[in-house]
Subunit: 244 residues, 2 copies
Amino acid sequence: MANKYRTYKKDLDYSYTLGIFLTIELLLHQPERVQCVFISSKTLNSEGVNKVIELCQKQNISYETNDKIISILSPKENCYVVGIFTKYTQNLEKSKSHVVLVNPSDSGNLGTIIRTSLGFGVSEIAIIKPGVDIFDPKTVRASMGALFNIHFTYFDTFFDYLENYQNHEIFTFMLNAKFKLSEINYQFTNPFSLVFGNEAKGLGKAFESIGTSIIIPHQKTIDSLNLSIAAGIALYEFTKQIVS
Amino acid sequence: MANKYRTYKKDLDYSYTLGIFLTIELLLHQPERVQCVFISSKTLNSEGVNKVIELCQKQNISYETNDKIISILSPKENCYVVGIFTKYTQNLEKSKSHVVLVNPSDSGNLGTIIRTSLGFGVSEIAIIKPGVDIFDPKTVRASMGALFNIHFTYFDTFFDYLENYQNHEIFTFMLNAKFKLSEINYQFTNPFSLVFGNEAKGLGKAFESIGTSIIIPHQKTIDSLNLSIAAGIALYEFTKQIVS
Protein backbone atom coordinates (compact mmCIF):
# COMPACT_ATOMS: atom_id res chain seq x y z
CA MET A 1 0.00 0.00 0.00
CA ALA A 2 2.70 2.43 1.05
CA ASN A 3 4.88 2.00 -2.02
CA LYS A 4 2.81 4.26 -4.18
CA TYR A 5 3.29 7.37 -2.03
CA ARG A 6 5.99 9.90 -2.80
CA THR A 7 7.21 13.20 -1.41
CA TYR A 8 4.63 15.91 -2.03
CA LYS A 9 4.42 17.62 -5.39
CA LYS A 10 1.73 19.94 -6.57
CA ASP A 11 0.58 17.67 -9.41
CA LEU A 12 -0.08 14.62 -7.21
CA ASP A 13 -3.75 13.92 -6.49
CA TYR A 14 -3.05 13.35 -2.80
CA SER A 15 -1.34 15.21 0.05
CA TYR A 16 -0.64 14.38 3.68
CA THR A 17 -0.66 15.61 7.25
CA LEU A 18 2.62 15.37 9.19
CA GLY A 19 2.21 14.69 12.89
CA ILE A 20 -0.38 13.53 15.36
CA PHE A 21 -2.22 16.82 15.86
CA LEU A 22 -2.79 17.53 12.16
CA THR A 23 -3.76 13.93 11.44
CA ILE A 24 -6.38 14.01 14.18
CA GLU A 25 -7.82 17.21 12.67
CA LEU A 26 -7.94 15.47 9.28
CA LEU A 27 -9.63 12.37 10.71
CA LEU A 28 -12.18 14.48 12.59
CA HIS A 29 -13.16 16.88 9.83
CA GLN A 30 -12.43 15.21 6.47
CA PRO A 31 -12.54 11.47 7.19
CA GLU A 32 -14.03 10.64 3.80
CA ARG A 33 -10.87 12.04 2.10
CA VAL A 34 -8.42 9.85 4.02
CA GLN A 35 -6.70 7.09 2.04
CA CYS A 36 -4.70 5.64 4.92
CA VAL A 37 -2.65 6.52 7.98
CA PHE A 38 0.96 5.54 8.68
CA ILE A 39 2.26 5.25 12.23
CA SER A 40 5.83 5.12 13.48
CA SER A 41 6.90 2.04 15.42
CA LYS A 42 8.54 4.36 17.96
CA THR A 43 5.35 5.73 19.48
CA LEU A 44 2.88 2.91 19.75
CA ASN A 45 0.68 3.33 22.80
CA SER A 46 1.17 7.07 23.14
CA GLU A 47 -2.07 8.89 23.93
CA GLY A 48 -2.15 10.78 20.64
CA VAL A 49 -1.44 7.70 18.56
CA ASN A 50 -4.16 5.78 20.37
CA LYS A 51 -6.61 8.55 19.48
CA VAL A 52 -5.50 8.32 15.82
CA ILE A 53 -6.04 4.54 15.81
CA GLU A 54 -9.42 4.89 17.50
CA LEU A 55 -10.57 7.41 14.87
CA CYS A 56 -9.35 5.15 12.06
CA GLN A 57 -11.14 2.10 13.49
CA LYS A 58 -14.35 3.98 14.10
CA GLN A 59 -14.40 5.24 10.51
CA ASN A 60 -13.06 2.14 8.75
CA ILE A 61 -9.88 3.89 7.64
CA SER A 62 -6.87 1.66 7.10
CA TYR A 63 -3.69 2.30 9.12
CA GLU A 64 -0.36 0.55 9.45
CA THR A 65 2.98 0.81 11.19
CA ASN A 66 5.52 1.87 8.57
CA ASP A 67 8.70 3.74 9.47
CA LYS A 68 10.05 3.72 5.94
CA ILE A 69 7.23 5.65 4.31
CA ILE A 70 7.23 8.14 7.19
CA SER A 71 10.95 8.80 6.69
CA ILE A 72 10.29 9.35 2.97
CA LEU A 73 7.36 11.74 3.44
CA SER A 74 8.90 13.57 6.41
CA PRO A 75 12.64 13.39 5.82
CA LYS A 76 13.73 16.28 7.98
CA GLU A 77 11.94 15.93 11.25
CA ASN A 78 10.64 13.72 13.99
CA CYS A 79 7.21 12.77 12.82
CA TYR A 80 5.25 9.85 14.20
CA VAL A 81 2.03 9.86 12.21
CA VAL A 82 1.25 10.68 8.58
CA GLY A 83 -2.28 10.84 7.16
CA ILE A 84 -2.65 10.49 3.40
CA PHE A 85 -5.69 12.19 1.91
CA THR A 86 -7.17 12.70 -1.54
CA LYS A 87 -7.24 16.32 -2.67
CA TYR A 88 -10.68 17.80 -3.15
CA THR A 89 -12.42 20.81 -4.62
CA GLN A 90 -15.24 22.80 -3.08
CA ASN A 91 -17.59 25.69 -3.68
CA LEU A 92 -17.85 28.77 -1.49
CA GLU A 93 -21.17 29.49 0.15
CA LYS A 94 -22.95 32.45 -1.43
CA SER A 95 -24.64 33.51 1.78
CA LYS A 96 -21.42 33.75 3.80
CA SER A 97 -18.57 36.25 3.92
CA HIS A 98 -15.30 35.45 2.16
CA VAL A 99 -11.59 36.15 2.28
CA VAL A 100 -10.16 36.57 -1.23
CA LEU A 101 -6.41 36.19 -1.71
CA VAL A 102 -5.09 37.45 -5.04
CA ASN A 103 -1.93 35.56 -6.03
CA PRO A 104 -0.72 34.58 -2.55
CA SER A 105 2.82 33.22 -2.84
CA ASP A 106 3.77 32.04 0.65
CA SER A 107 2.42 28.78 2.05
CA GLY A 108 3.04 29.89 5.65
CA ASN A 109 0.99 33.06 5.14
CA LEU A 110 -1.81 31.13 3.46
CA GLY A 111 -1.98 28.61 6.31
CA THR A 112 -1.93 31.32 8.98
CA ILE A 113 -4.68 33.25 7.18
CA ILE A 114 -6.85 30.10 6.97
CA ARG A 115 -6.45 29.57 10.72
CA THR A 116 -7.13 33.22 11.60
CA SER A 117 -10.09 33.43 9.25
CA LEU A 118 -11.70 30.33 10.74
CA GLY A 119 -11.08 31.74 14.23
CA PHE A 120 -13.02 34.87 13.31
CA GLY A 121 -15.86 32.88 11.79
CA VAL A 122 -15.05 33.43 8.10
CA SER A 123 -14.79 29.92 6.70
CA GLU A 124 -14.81 30.63 2.96
CA ILE A 125 -11.51 31.37 1.18
CA ALA A 126 -11.12 32.26 -2.49
CA ILE A 127 -7.69 32.14 -4.11
CA ILE A 128 -7.07 33.91 -7.41
CA LYS A 129 -4.48 32.15 -9.59
CA PRO A 130 -1.58 32.00 -9.73
CA GLY A 131 -1.52 31.20 -6.04
CA VAL A 132 0.38 28.96 -3.68
CA ASP A 133 -0.86 25.38 -3.34
CA ILE A 134 -3.36 25.07 -0.49
CA PHE A 135 -2.61 21.32 -0.16
CA ASP A 136 1.15 21.78 0.26
CA PRO A 137 1.99 20.06 3.58
CA LYS A 138 3.59 23.38 4.66
CA THR A 139 0.25 25.16 4.21
CA VAL A 140 -1.60 22.37 6.01
CA ARG A 141 0.81 22.68 8.93
CA ALA A 142 0.71 26.49 9.07
CA SER A 143 -3.10 26.28 9.15
CA MET A 144 -2.82 23.99 12.21
CA GLY A 145 -5.40 21.77 10.52
CA ALA A 146 -7.90 24.63 10.07
CA LEU A 147 -7.76 23.83 6.35
CA PHE A 148 -10.01 20.83 7.01
CA ASN A 149 -12.68 23.09 8.50
CA ILE A 150 -13.01 25.69 5.76
CA HIS A 151 -14.23 25.87 2.17
CA PHE A 152 -11.91 27.14 -0.54
CA THR A 153 -11.98 27.60 -4.31
CA TYR A 154 -9.34 28.66 -6.85
CA PHE A 155 -10.41 31.09 -9.58
CA ASP A 156 -8.55 31.86 -12.80
CA THR A 157 -9.17 35.59 -12.46
CA PHE A 158 -10.70 37.97 -9.94
CA PHE A 159 -13.47 38.66 -12.42
CA ASP A 160 -14.45 34.99 -12.44
CA TYR A 161 -14.80 35.30 -8.68
CA LEU A 162 -16.91 38.48 -8.96
CA GLU A 163 -19.25 36.90 -11.48
CA ASN A 164 -20.01 34.07 -9.09
CA TYR A 165 -20.57 36.20 -6.00
CA GLN A 166 -22.34 39.35 -7.13
CA ASN A 167 -24.13 39.89 -3.83
CA HIS A 168 -20.95 40.34 -1.83
CA GLU A 169 -19.84 43.74 -0.67
CA ILE A 170 -16.22 44.01 -1.81
CA PHE A 171 -13.46 45.58 0.30
CA THR A 172 -10.00 45.83 -1.21
CA PHE A 173 -6.99 46.29 1.06
CA MET A 174 -4.37 48.50 -0.54
CA LEU A 175 -1.93 51.28 0.27
CA ASN A 176 -3.57 53.70 -2.15
CA ALA A 177 -7.02 53.51 -0.54
CA LYS A 178 -9.99 55.82 0.04
CA PHE A 179 -10.78 54.79 3.63
CA LYS A 180 -8.95 53.85 6.80
CA LEU A 181 -10.01 50.55 8.34
CA SER A 182 -11.28 52.39 11.44
CA GLU A 183 -13.59 54.54 9.29
CA ILE A 184 -15.56 51.64 7.82
CA ASN A 185 -19.19 51.31 8.86
CA TYR A 186 -19.85 47.77 9.98
CA GLN A 187 -23.64 47.53 9.50
CA PHE A 188 -23.68 45.03 6.66
CA THR A 189 -26.77 43.57 5.10
CA ASN A 190 -24.86 41.56 2.49
CA PRO A 191 -21.97 39.21 3.15
CA PHE A 192 -18.56 40.82 2.66
CA SER A 193 -15.45 39.87 0.69
CA LEU A 194 -12.12 41.04 2.10
CA VAL A 195 -9.63 41.14 -0.80
CA PHE A 196 -5.86 41.07 -0.28
CA GLY A 197 -3.06 41.18 -2.86
CA ASN A 198 0.20 39.34 -3.27
CA GLU A 199 2.84 39.66 -0.49
CA ALA A 200 5.27 41.69 -2.60
CA LYS A 201 3.02 43.49 -5.07
CA GLY A 202 -0.27 44.09 -3.25
CA LEU A 203 -3.36 44.74 -5.36
CA GLY A 204 -2.75 46.33 -8.76
CA LYS A 205 -4.28 49.49 -10.22
CA ALA A 206 -7.21 47.55 -11.70
CA PHE A 207 -8.56 47.03 -8.19
CA GLU A 208 -8.89 50.76 -7.49
CA SER A 209 -12.28 50.88 -9.20
CA ILE A 210 -13.68 47.79 -7.48
CA GLY A 211 -15.66 47.99 -4.24
CA THR A 212 -14.40 50.02 -1.29
CA SER A 213 -10.65 50.40 -0.86
CA ILE A 214 -9.25 50.31 2.68
CA ILE A 215 -5.87 51.00 4.20
CA ILE A 216 -4.65 49.81 7.59
CA PRO A 217 -2.58 52.87 8.50
CA HIS A 218 0.98 52.24 9.64
CA GLN A 219 4.06 54.36 10.03
CA LYS A 220 6.50 54.84 7.18
CA THR A 221 9.24 53.04 9.09
CA ILE A 222 8.04 49.86 7.37
CA ASP A 223 7.04 49.34 3.73
CA SER A 224 3.96 47.31 4.52
CA LEU A 225 2.41 44.96 7.04
CA ASN A 226 2.96 41.25 6.56
CA LEU A 227 0.03 39.84 4.55
CA SER A 228 -1.15 37.50 7.30
CA ILE A 229 -0.99 40.33 9.87
CA ALA A 230 -3.02 42.66 7.61
CA ALA A 231 -5.60 39.93 7.03
CA GLY A 232 -5.74 39.19 10.76
CA ILE A 233 -6.36 42.83 11.68
CA ALA A 234 -8.99 43.22 8.96
CA LEU A 235 -10.80 40.04 10.01
CA TYR A 236 -10.73 41.17 13.63
CA GLU A 237 -12.25 44.57 12.77
CA PHE A 238 -14.90 43.22 10.39
CA THR A 239 -16.11 40.53 12.78
CA LYS A 240 -15.64 41.98 16.23
CA GLN A 241 -19.30 42.66 16.76
CA ILE A 242 -20.10 39.07 15.80
CA VAL A 243 -17.37 36.97 17.45
CA SER A 244 -17.79 36.88 21.20
CA MET B 1 39.25 38.90 6.49
CA ALA B 2 36.53 36.43 5.48
CA ASN B 3 38.13 33.31 6.92
CA LYS B 4 37.04 33.99 10.43
CA TYR B 5 33.30 33.95 9.70
CA ARG B 6 31.25 30.81 10.22
CA THR B 7 27.63 29.76 9.88
CA TYR B 8 25.52 31.47 12.53
CA LYS B 9 25.36 30.09 16.04
CA LYS B 10 23.82 31.76 19.05
CA ASP B 11 27.11 32.03 20.96
CA LEU B 12 28.97 33.92 18.23
CA ASP B 13 29.45 37.64 18.87
CA TYR B 14 28.40 38.53 15.32
CA SER B 15 25.47 37.81 13.01
CA TYR B 16 24.69 38.72 9.41
CA THR B 17 22.09 39.94 6.97
CA LEU B 18 21.39 37.74 3.93
CA GLY B 19 20.46 39.64 0.79
CA ILE B 20 20.57 43.12 -0.64
CA PHE B 21 17.43 44.51 1.03
CA LEU B 22 18.35 43.50 4.58
CA THR B 23 21.95 44.63 4.15
CA ILE B 24 20.81 48.07 3.01
CA GLU B 25 18.59 48.33 6.12
CA LEU B 26 21.59 47.36 8.26
CA LEU B 27 23.87 49.91 6.56
CA LEU B 28 21.25 52.65 6.90
CA HIS B 29 20.26 52.12 10.53
CA GLN B 30 23.15 50.38 12.33
CA PRO B 31 26.26 51.32 10.31
CA GLU B 32 28.46 51.48 13.40
CA ARG B 33 27.82 47.74 14.05
CA VAL B 34 28.92 46.57 10.58
CA GLN B 35 32.20 44.66 10.39
CA CYS B 36 32.21 44.15 6.63
CA VAL B 37 30.08 43.37 3.60
CA PHE B 38 30.58 40.50 1.15
CA ILE B 39 29.30 40.75 -2.39
CA SER B 40 28.77 37.98 -4.96
CA SER B 41 30.72 38.22 -8.22
CA LYS B 42 27.50 37.38 -10.07
CA THR B 43 25.71 40.66 -9.45
CA LEU B 44 28.24 43.40 -9.76
CA ASN B 45 26.67 46.54 -11.19
CA SER B 46 23.10 45.68 -10.21
CA GLU B 47 21.25 48.69 -8.81
CA GLY B 48 20.90 47.19 -5.32
CA VAL B 49 24.56 46.19 -5.12
CA ASN B 50 25.63 49.65 -6.24
CA LYS B 51 23.57 51.12 -3.40
CA VAL B 52 25.27 48.73 -0.94
CA ILE B 53 28.72 49.78 -2.19
CA GLU B 54 27.80 53.46 -2.06
CA LEU B 55 26.65 53.12 1.57
CA CYS B 56 29.86 51.24 2.49
CA GLN B 57 32.07 53.85 0.87
CA LYS B 58 30.21 56.75 2.44
CA GLN B 59 30.58 55.23 5.91
CA ASN B 60 34.08 53.78 5.56
CA ILE B 61 32.85 50.18 5.84
CA SER B 62 35.01 47.56 4.16
CA TYR B 63 33.48 45.37 1.46
CA GLU B 64 34.81 42.73 -0.89
CA THR B 65 33.73 40.32 -3.59
CA ASN B 66 33.80 36.84 -2.08
CA ASP B 67 31.63 34.03 -3.40
CA LYS B 68 33.09 31.43 -1.08
CA ILE B 69 32.09 33.08 2.20
CA ILE B 70 28.62 33.83 0.81
CA SER B 71 28.12 30.16 -0.06
CA ILE B 72 29.19 29.23 3.49
CA LEU B 73 26.93 31.72 5.25
CA SER B 74 23.98 31.21 2.89
CA PRO B 75 24.28 27.60 1.75
CA LYS B 76 20.70 27.04 0.64
CA GLU B 77 19.71 29.99 -1.43
CA ASN B 78 20.61 32.56 -4.00
CA CYS B 79 22.08 35.37 -1.98
CA TYR B 80 24.21 38.10 -3.45
CA VAL B 81 25.13 40.25 -0.48
CA VAL B 82 25.93 39.44 3.15
CA GLY B 83 26.49 42.08 5.83
CA ILE B 84 28.40 40.99 8.94
CA PHE B 85 27.57 42.94 12.10
CA THR B 86 28.59 42.86 15.75
CA LYS B 87 25.79 41.96 18.13
CA TYR B 88 24.74 44.68 20.54
CA THR B 89 22.68 45.27 23.63
CA GLN B 90 20.33 48.14 24.32
CA ASN B 91 18.03 49.63 26.92
CA LEU B 92 14.34 50.27 26.44
CA GLU B 93 13.11 53.82 26.74
CA LYS B 94 11.12 54.39 29.92
CA SER B 95 8.87 57.01 28.40
CA LYS B 96 7.72 54.85 25.51
CA SER B 97 5.30 51.93 25.21
CA HIS B 98 6.67 48.38 25.00
CA VAL B 99 5.86 44.96 23.63
CA VAL B 100 6.88 42.23 26.10
CA LEU B 101 7.32 38.68 24.79
CA VAL B 102 7.51 36.01 27.47
CA ASN B 103 9.53 33.01 26.24
CA PRO B 104 8.94 33.41 22.50
CA SER B 105 10.17 30.28 20.71
CA ASP B 106 9.75 30.95 17.01
CA SER B 107 12.17 33.20 15.14
CA GLY B 108 9.67 33.86 12.36
CA ASN B 109 7.07 35.07 14.85
CA LEU B 110 9.61 37.26 16.65
CA GLY B 111 10.71 38.87 13.38
CA THR B 112 7.13 39.48 12.24
CA ILE B 113 6.22 41.00 15.61
CA ILE B 114 9.23 43.35 15.45
CA ARG B 115 8.15 44.52 12.00
CA THR B 116 4.48 44.95 12.99
CA SER B 117 5.38 46.69 16.22
CA LEU B 118 7.62 49.20 14.45
CA GLY B 119 4.87 49.77 11.90
CA PHE B 120 2.46 50.73 14.67
CA GLY B 121 4.99 53.02 16.33
CA VAL B 122 6.03 50.77 19.23
CA SER B 123 9.78 50.50 18.89
CA GLU B 124 10.70 48.96 22.26
CA ILE B 125 10.65 45.15 22.64
CA ALA B 126 11.35 43.24 25.86
CA ILE B 127 12.04 39.50 25.70
CA ILE B 128 11.78 37.39 28.85
CA LYS B 129 14.22 34.47 28.87
CA PRO B 130 14.31 31.78 27.72
CA GLY B 131 13.50 33.28 24.37
CA VAL B 132 14.45 32.81 20.76
CA ASP B 133 17.62 34.58 19.59
CA ILE B 134 16.80 38.01 18.15
CA PHE B 135 20.03 37.99 16.11
CA ASP B 136 19.32 34.66 14.39
CA PRO B 137 19.48 35.45 10.65
CA LYS B 138 15.97 33.94 10.40
CA THR B 139 14.64 36.55 12.86
CA VAL B 140 16.50 39.32 11.05
CA ARG B 141 14.92 38.22 7.78
CA ALA B 142 11.40 37.82 9.19
CA SER B 143 11.69 41.35 10.62
CA MET B 144 12.47 42.61 7.10
CA GLY B 145 15.27 44.61 8.68
CA ALA B 146 12.96 46.30 11.20
CA LEU B 147 15.23 44.85 13.89
CA PHE B 148 17.74 47.59 13.09
CA ASN B 149 15.15 50.27 13.86
CA ILE B 150 13.95 49.12 17.28
CA HIS B 151 15.32 48.82 20.81
CA PHE B 152 15.23 45.46 22.57
CA THR B 153 16.39 44.00 25.88
CA TYR B 154 16.41 40.46 27.27
CA PHE B 155 15.35 40.00 30.93
CA ASP B 156 15.92 36.94 33.10
CA THR B 157 12.40 37.10 34.53
CA PHE B 158 9.24 39.11 34.03
CA PHE B 159 9.74 40.61 37.49
CA ASP B 160 13.11 42.01 36.46
CA TYR B 161 11.27 43.72 33.65
CA LEU B 162 8.56 45.07 35.99
CA GLU B 163 11.12 46.48 38.42
CA ASN B 164 12.72 48.49 35.67
CA TYR B 165 9.53 49.89 34.18
CA GLN B 166 7.18 50.60 37.06
CA ASN B 167 5.38 53.42 35.31
CA HIS B 168 4.06 51.25 32.53
CA GLU B 169 0.43 50.20 32.43
CA ILE B 170 0.55 46.43 31.98
CA PHE B 171 -1.85 44.51 29.70
CA THR B 172 -1.55 40.73 29.61
CA PHE B 173 -3.01 38.80 26.69
CA MET B 174 -4.44 35.48 27.79
CA LEU B 175 -7.40 33.19 27.19
CA ASN B 176 -8.53 33.39 30.82
CA ALA B 177 -8.93 37.17 30.84
CA LYS B 178 -11.17 39.76 32.47
CA PHE B 179 -11.70 42.02 29.45
CA LYS B 180 -12.21 41.74 25.73
CA LEU B 181 -9.83 43.77 23.61
CA SER B 182 -12.73 45.86 22.31
CA GLU B 183 -13.72 46.84 25.87
CA ILE B 184 -10.41 48.46 26.75
CA ASN B 185 -10.41 52.21 27.25
CA TYR B 186 -7.63 53.79 25.22
CA GLN B 187 -7.10 57.05 27.12
CA PHE B 188 -3.63 56.37 28.47
CA THR B 189 -1.58 58.76 30.46
CA ASN B 190 1.25 56.32 31.07
CA PRO B 191 3.03 54.30 28.41
CA PHE B 192 1.67 50.75 28.03
CA SER B 193 3.25 47.30 27.99
CA LEU B 194 1.50 44.65 25.91
CA VAL B 195 2.53 41.24 27.29
CA PHE B 196 2.26 38.02 25.27
CA GLY B 197 3.13 34.45 26.29
CA ASN B 198 4.86 31.60 24.54
CA GLU B 199 3.35 30.23 21.29
CA ALA B 200 2.30 26.92 22.82
CA LYS B 201 1.74 27.74 26.48
CA GLY B 202 0.56 31.34 26.59
CA LEU B 203 0.95 33.24 29.86
CA GLY B 204 0.88 31.13 33.02
CA LYS B 205 -1.33 31.51 36.08
CA ALA B 206 1.13 33.87 37.77
CA PHE B 207 0.21 36.53 35.24
CA GLU B 208 -3.46 36.58 36.24
CA SER B 209 -2.75 38.97 39.10
CA ILE B 210 -0.62 41.36 37.06
CA GLY B 211 -2.08 44.37 35.29
CA THR B 212 -5.19 44.11 33.14
CA SER B 213 -5.84 40.81 31.38
CA ILE B 214 -7.27 40.91 27.86
CA ILE B 215 -8.63 38.33 25.45
CA ILE B 216 -9.01 38.72 21.72
CA PRO B 217 -12.23 36.74 21.30
CA HIS B 218 -12.26 34.05 18.65
CA GLN B 219 -14.46 31.09 17.89
CA LYS B 220 -13.79 27.69 19.39
CA THR B 221 -13.03 26.21 15.98
CA ILE B 222 -9.37 27.09 16.65
CA ASP B 223 -7.36 26.66 19.86
CA SER B 224 -5.74 30.06 19.71
CA LEU B 225 -4.61 32.78 17.36
CA ASN B 226 -1.05 32.63 16.07
CA LEU B 227 1.16 34.73 18.38
CA SER B 228 2.19 37.21 15.70
CA ILE B 229 -1.46 37.65 14.64
CA ALA B 230 -2.57 38.28 18.24
CA ALA B 231 0.24 40.80 18.71
CA GLY B 232 -0.64 42.48 15.41
CA ILE B 233 -4.31 42.88 16.34
CA ALA B 234 -3.44 44.16 19.83
CA LEU B 235 -0.93 46.67 18.47
CA TYR B 236 -3.47 47.85 15.91
CA GLU B 237 -6.15 48.40 18.57
CA PHE B 238 -3.84 50.08 21.09
CA THR B 239 -2.36 52.51 18.58
CA LYS B 240 -5.12 53.19 16.11
CA GLN B 241 -5.83 56.65 17.47
CA ILE B 242 -2.17 57.51 17.20
CA VAL B 243 -1.03 55.99 13.89
CA SER B 244 -2.53 57.84 10.93
